[in-house]
């Protein structure tokens, strides 16, 4: 017996009656006659969870650690009820041959219909043997799985940009997913950050399941919903920047008053991420709130853009808008997402609730 969306919904307190009502509404929304409702209901009741193969290259596992810290939804519910996390060497029970066999089984059974999640990246030097899986270069595993995947999620700054091991002089030629030579041409969603915010990671997954498509991406391949605004734009300390009130030194009067950290190196004005809006760990805080300047960890090449305590040199005081907006234009183009992912329970719940309210 499959655990299906219907089961998940029932557990979330949705009645059978509400579920069927949703199916009628969904049929209408799709331009179908109400006669199709039973078919939709049947699909919802029997459709398997979408398989996810989560591969690890050169990395530090901070993305996985972030993922399990998600407060809403809980990582437990994502793993048990939303996706089928069939391969993830950090948590999977099987090892060695039994682990590797899962990849082939998944490819055979779900060819073109699973998601590849990549944490870390592939080193290209030394024939790829700076990262060995099953006695072979990781890059081979990556290409092989990508060939059969429906879409790829590049978790974190390693998979998105290269991150710390690709910092100058990049001793292993660590290479982000989209730049790996001979990578199969598959849609890639970059979710940068070191690590990405927990709830951003789970939101990207649930968005795809719920709305049956890729999120809208900017021209760098990041979901617009979380990466269109600079930290600085929505920072709660922004009024102090505008008023010229700055922390001059750590632990000075300004630091105790929560003044702007721009002069001690904050990269918020040039960093696109959701830290000042979504915040971290269930919305509890974010680096600036805890008194440390943003180090820009979701930006491409942030390790090599000057010291973390050096003031942004090309941005002059109140001229910041002009300069930073120029940076912003580059990200304005929109790449539409057209890859359909099957529906998830939360959309059902939402629509059902709406229906009930109405």
């Amino acid at each position: 017996m499959h655990e299906t969306f219907y089961d998940v919904m029932r557990r979330q307190g949705i009645t059978r009656r509400s579920f069927l009502k949703y199916c009628s509404l969904a049929a209408g929304a799709l331009g179908l006659s109400p006669a199709f409702a039973p078919q939709i209901a049947e699909a919802m009741e029997t459709k398997p969870r979408i398989p996810v193969l989560w591969l690890h290259g050169l990395e530090c596992t901070c993305c996985s650690e972030s993922f399990i810290r998600s407060a809403h939804p809980l990582a437990k519910d994502v793993i048990l009820s939303m996706i089928s996390l069939d391969y993830d060497d950090t948590i999977m029970a099987a090892a060695g041959d039994q682990a590797e066999a899962i990849i082939e089984e998944t490819i055979q059974k779900y060819d073109g219909n699973f998601i590849l999640a990549v944490e870390g990246n592939a080193p290209l030097d030394e024939d790829g043997m700076y990262c060995i899986i099953g006695g072979k270069p990781f890059v081979e595993q990556l290409r092989h799985v990508a060939e059969h995947a429906k879409a790829i999620i590049s978790w974190g700054s390693c998979a998105s940009w290269g991150c710390v091991q690709a910092a100058r002089p990049n001793p292993t030629r660590a290479t982000p997913t989209h730049k790996v030579p001979n990578m199969p041409d598959k849609p890639i969603i970059k979710v940068p950050g070191c690590p990405p915010i927990s709830e951003v990671m789970t939101a990207v997954i649930t968005y795809m399941l719920t709305f049956e498509k890729m999120p809208s991406l900017d021209n760098q391949g990041r979901p617009k919903m979380f990466y269109s605004q600079r930290i600085h734009d929505k920072c709660y300390r922004r009024p102090h920047f505008d008023a010229g009130q700055f922390v001059e030194k750590f632990d000075d009067e300004g630091a105790k008053k929560g003044y702007c950290l721009y002069k001690v190196g904050c990269k918020g004005p040039t960093t696109y991420n959701a830290c000042s809006t979504v915040r971290w760990n269930g919305g509890l805080s974010f680096p600036i709130q805890a008194g440390h300047p943003c180090i820009g960890c979701s930006e491409d090449g942030f390790w090599d853009k000057g010291g973390f305590y050096e003031r942004l040199s090309d941005i002059k005081g109140f001229g910041i808008e002009g300069n930073a907006d120029e940076i912003g234009t580059a990200a304005a183009a929109i790449v539409g997402g057209a890859v359909a992912i099957h529906a998830g329970a939360s959309v059902v719940k939402r629509i059902v609730q709406k229906g009930d309210d109405a």
């Binding site: 017996m1 993830d88 030394e126 008194g291 973390f308």
Partner: protein, 599 residues
């Protein structure tokens, strides 16, 4: 092939069947393990290979030493923060910077919360499936499970039959869906699993409870460091300024509401560890206490640098709440002092590592560390350079170096710390150990085992959670006394620094002794070396043929089914391997090598 005797007392026989495990899963990073088993399926030779390398130390060269913590923190996102703390200590040591008392307390709270979090996540999410069979949990009687729960942990509120029935139903649907996710292809029919269904159901339930709760533990670090994973640190103190009573306390990093949050989480963490984690380890221990494999080096050579300075800026053994010392040849009555600066104590060797020394018969102290990659395979390799089927441990075979203390292969980690603390008569540690030995009715020798490692980790989580509260109280008392200082910035400006300095910083990471050695020249990092816990534990053979802690621990273990590596995983996991941590620096070419050399 004839049996080979290692200098550290192990008898290696490669004549039996070779079993390969790659990848070793449920660890951080990438690792391979090969063993030979005899006709009775007993492991007679063990080979552990670190299979990744990133080169962080070479990336650090020429950087601002104040930024180093952020780079090295990315060595590992599981033990997140411990490398950063080690780094700021190394830089402060080099630049002679004293930190405020409040900064010491806050750092300790962050480090202790890491111990609690890391140990808990390790037990439930990386290690439990070596002992617990989720499929068998489906056979459990929820009522009997409830009774078991109330017996092993009377104070844990989630113990009703209905609660266990709900969890069981959820697991049943999950299993019957045919989409087993992380449990897929597990070894669920292997006779190595010994728990009755009720204990399995209880443990699987706590696997889920712990997955929900672990995210709370780390919020302590979100308060002080702004985010977790990878919170923020500062050379000279901590970045979070304190404002208890001013007109702008709301919105300041630390105020009354923030400290209350930390207290609340800390108290809940103590409760969870006491009511769930410790009882579960004892319950598992009760059923597996006859499985006494995996001792390896723990009964011989253990090492700890110590950690958690009570007062700020005093890193001497007497001021460290986590014990420091070395025990050699199992002589618990003699705990040796450890000096990270002494060139003759800690040295790294590379004859079996994928690195090159001018003279590989010698070891080098980290301040004098030379590292150049040298990916070469031995002549008896089965397979090719890019498709290794069987590795040749006679040649080079790992991206991990072989660190030695005064020439000895050492085990580090919670068990090492607890053995040293026990040998030193550390009161809390001794009480905890006696408590667990009494509860399981086993002699003290039972500590030297896979299960001993797992138990020591749980005890340490309990200890760390309580110490976290001690330092929170200490922080508040100090603020009450009028000191709200969190950072010493007098030497923050590089213009104030001497031309050439060197320093060493250390912590006890969740997985064991961690040291960073830094040289600073003209305000930039000239050389940076890390010797980390999994370098100690996962080390390959050295110049004399001594095997490392992982390899030693697998020796003479009986496997039920050689094709199903349950026992290998069980023992390797008891160390909580962290491979991203363990792998080392390299240089691109000979010129780089010259730069790394000490003048």
């Amino acid at each position: 092939m004839a049996t080979v005797q290692t200098p550290n007392g192990f008898s290696l026989d490669t004549s039996g069947k070779r079993v390969v495990v790659d990848p070793v899963t449920r660890i951080e990073g990438h690792m391979r393990c090969e063993v030979n088993v005899d006709e009775n399926n007993i492991i007679r030779n063990a080979v552990s290979t670190g299979t990744m390398w990133r080169g962080l130390e070479v990336i650090l060269k020429g950087r601002d030493p104040r930024d180093a913590w952020a780079f090295v923190q990315r060595i590992c996102g599981v033990c997140t923060g411990t490398h950063a703390l080690t780094s700021v200590r190394a830089v402060e040591d080099a630049l002679n910077i004293d930190i405020p008392e409040n900064a010491n307390s806050i750092r300790n709270i962050m480090q202790l919360s890491l111990q609690v979090h890391d140990h808990l996540v390790h037990f439930y999410h990386l290690h439990a499936l070596d002992w617990v069979n989720p499929v068998n949990a489906l056979k459990a009687d929820p009522k009997a499970t409830s009774e078991l729960q109330q017996k092993v942990s009377p104070h844990h509120p989630k113990s009703s039959p209905g609660y266990f029935r709900d969890v069981q139903t959820r697991i049943r649907k999950f299993v019957e869906s045919g989409q087993l996710g992380p449990f897929k292809n597990g070894y669920w029919t292997n006779p190595a699993y010994l728990l009755p269904p009720e204990a399995d159901l209880m443990a699987v339930t706590h696997y889920l409870e712990a997955l929900d709760f672990q995210k709370e533990i780390m919020t302590v670090r979100t308060i002080f460091g702004g985010k977790d994973t990878h919170p923020n640190w500062l050379v000279g103190g901590v970045p979070c300024a304190i404002n208890m009573d001013g007109d702008m306390a709301a919105g300041a990093p630390i105020n009354m509401e923030r400290l209350n949050y930390v207290r609340s989480i800390t108290e809940r963490a103590i409760t969870f560890v006491k009511n769930v984690y410790i009882p579960d380890v004892l319950a598992v221990g009760q059923f597996y206490k006859g499985w006494l494999y995996g001792g390896g080096l723990s009964s011989q050579n253990v090492l700890s640098y110590g950690d958690i300075p009570d007062r700020a800026n005093d890193y001497s053994a007497g001021n460290l709440l986590m014990p420091r010392g070395a025990i050699i040849n199992g002589k618990l009555e003699e705990v040796h002092p450890v000096d990270l600066r002494d060139p003759d104590e800690i040295q790294e060797f590379v004859p079996h590592s994928w690195y090159k020394y001018a003279d590989e018969a010698v070891g080098l102290h980290p301040w004098d560390g030379v590292t150049e990659a040298n990916y070469k395979l031995g002549p008896n390799l089965v397979g090719t350079r890019t498709h290794i089927k069987e590795i040749d441990e006679g040649g080079k075979y790992s991206w991990i170096k072989a660190p030695r203390w005064k020439g000895h292969a050492m085990e580090v980690g919670p068990l090492a710390r607890y053995i040293i603390g026990y040998a030193q008569g550390h009161e809390q540690i001794t009480d905890q150990i006696k408590g667990v030995l009494g509860a399981l009715d086993v002699p003290v020798d039972a500590l030297f085992s896979t299960l001993g490692r797992t138990a020591a980790r749980a005890l340490e989580a309990e200890w760390a959670a309580e110490q976290q509260l001690y330092f929170l109280d200490k922080l508040i008392a100090n603020i009450k006394n009028g000191d709200s200082s969190t950072a010493n910035t007098t030497s923050f400006d590089p213009k104030t620094w001497p031309t050439e300095v060197k320093g060493v910083g250390f912590t006890e990471a969740p997985r064991g002794a961690l040291g960073h050695w830094v040289k600073i020249k003209d305000t930039k990092i000239e050389n940076y070396q890390c010797v980390v816990p999994t370098t100690w534990n996962g080390s390959p053979r050295d110049n004399e043929g001594n095997i490392g802690a992982f390899e030693a621990s697998l020796m003479n273990t009986k496997m039920e089914v050689p094709e199903e590596p349950v026992e290998i995983l069980r023992t390797l996991h008891s160390f909580d391997p962290c491979l991203a941590c363990s792998t080392h620096v390299m240089s691109e070419d000979g010129e780089e090598l010259a730069d790394v050399k000490v003048r």
